[in-house]
């Protein structure tokens, strides 16, 4: 492959490693957060309700928190925050870092084209993840667990 070899050398290896890591976070961060949200939220609701370990006041508790509190905070809000972070990363990488560069070198530099495809995938996956977690969050606010 032509030209970019030289420009590659400019960057320290650490920055490139970090860059590759950030890229993969922008691609897979949101969907991973969703997967964790799903397993945690479903798992705690189904299993806690089956076992129904009730705390003071007859409420079902998980790790000392109310079930609803646990599902809302630990299983939903935190993954949502991660997914949003990943969404922002993919959005910024696409619109600022790569898009401009891409326009100048379009077609000649498969590496950048490939990177653009990856952030586009990441952007889409992140949008889906945020939507799914948010939908789940809506239900957590609306439904009381174990009914």
């Amino acid at each position: 492959m032509p030209a970019p070899r030289s420009s590659q050398r400019r960057l320290p290896a650490g920055a490139r490693r970090l860059g590759a890591g950030l890229m993969w976070f922008a691609v897979l961060g949101g969907i991973t957060a969703w997967a964790i949200h799903l397993v945690l939220a479903w798992g705690t609701v189904e299993l806690a309700c089956t076992r129904a370990e009730t705390g003071p006041g007859g409420e079902v508790t998980v790790l000392g928190m109310s079930l609803r509190g646990f599902v809302a905070a630990v299983a939903t809000a935190i993954p949502l925050a991660v997914a949003i972070a990943s969404l922002i990363a993919s959005w910024r990488f696409r619109s600022r870092q790569l898009a401009g560069e891409h326009r100048e070198t379009a077609g000649d530099e498969p590496r950048l084209d490939r990177a653009v495809l990856m952030v586009q995938l990441g952007l889409g996956l992140n949008v889906f993840s945020v939507l799914m977690i948010a939908f789940g969050g809506l239900a957590v606010l609306w439904f009381s667990p174990c009914t």
């Binding site: 400019r10 320290p12 490139r16 490693r17 970090l18 993969w24 299993l47 790569l98």
Partner: protein
């Protein structure tokens, strides 16, 4: 965050850095083994998930039916043996990449020995356990023996692979230029070790919490 860090972050978001190709340069065999290990890890994850699912849907004490909480002394010795076998394996792998066939043979032999010791102890553990409960003693017994037995089977398979590689080594088949097999076997072995830690913490440690 200090200024230097900021600079390295902003550098890392330069197009060149983001477009760094990673992973790359792996061999097809490397990918094959990684994917095989992935599917095996999922297999064990599902088994352990089943274990916890049954635990949480079971009323009363866990383990159920008067089965005692597993003792830790023997499993911990087994853990030490198995984990320490990863070191000679890694050492052997490094050695052959530099072309040292003798070190490769020694490393493999040591790993083989440690793994075999693990299996022997597992046999001893089964002997005492089976006197207390069997695979037909509640779902707990079924899960306990299925998970540990399946892992033991993997250890045995790993030992067979190490032995097979050792024979090849003694025949001089692994060289500076051709040593992919060693690397794959090492990977598999490390994965089995890692899985054991999951099993130890789920089946042996978690009931003590």
């Amino acid at each position: 965050m200090n200024a230097v860090d900021m600079r390295s972050v902003s550098r890392a978001t330069e197009p060149e850095a983001l477009a760094t190709e990673r992973p790359r340069g792996r061999t097809p065999a490397w990918w094959g083994m990684v994917l095989l290990i992935t599917t095996e890890v999922v297999l064990f994850a599902v088994l352990l998930a089943s274990y916890f699912f049954v635990q949480f849907t079971t009323e009363g004490p866990w383990p159920p039916g008067g089965i005692r909480t597993p003792e830790l002394r023997l499993p911990l010795i087994m853990t030490v043996l198995l984990l320490s076998s990863s070191a000679p394996m890694a050492w052997a792998d490094r050695a052959i990449r530099r072309g040292y066939q003798g070190q490769l043979a020694a490393g493999l032999a040591l790993a083989l020995l440690l793994g075999a010791a693990f299996l022997t102890l597992q046999g001893i553990e089964y002997d005492t356990k089976l006197a207390e409960f069997t695979w037909t003693s509640y779902a707990y017994g079924s899960l306990f023996y299925a998970i540990t037995g399946f892992h033991g089977f993997h250890v045995a398979a790993g030992l067979f692979m190490i032995g097979f590689t050792l024979v090849g080594t003694l025949r001089g088949r692994y060289t500076y230029e051709r040593h992919e097999r060693v690397r794959q076997v090492a990977f598999y072995w490390h994965a089995i070790d890692g899985l054991w830690i999951l099993i130890l913490s789920s089946l042996y440690l978690s009931p003590h919490v």
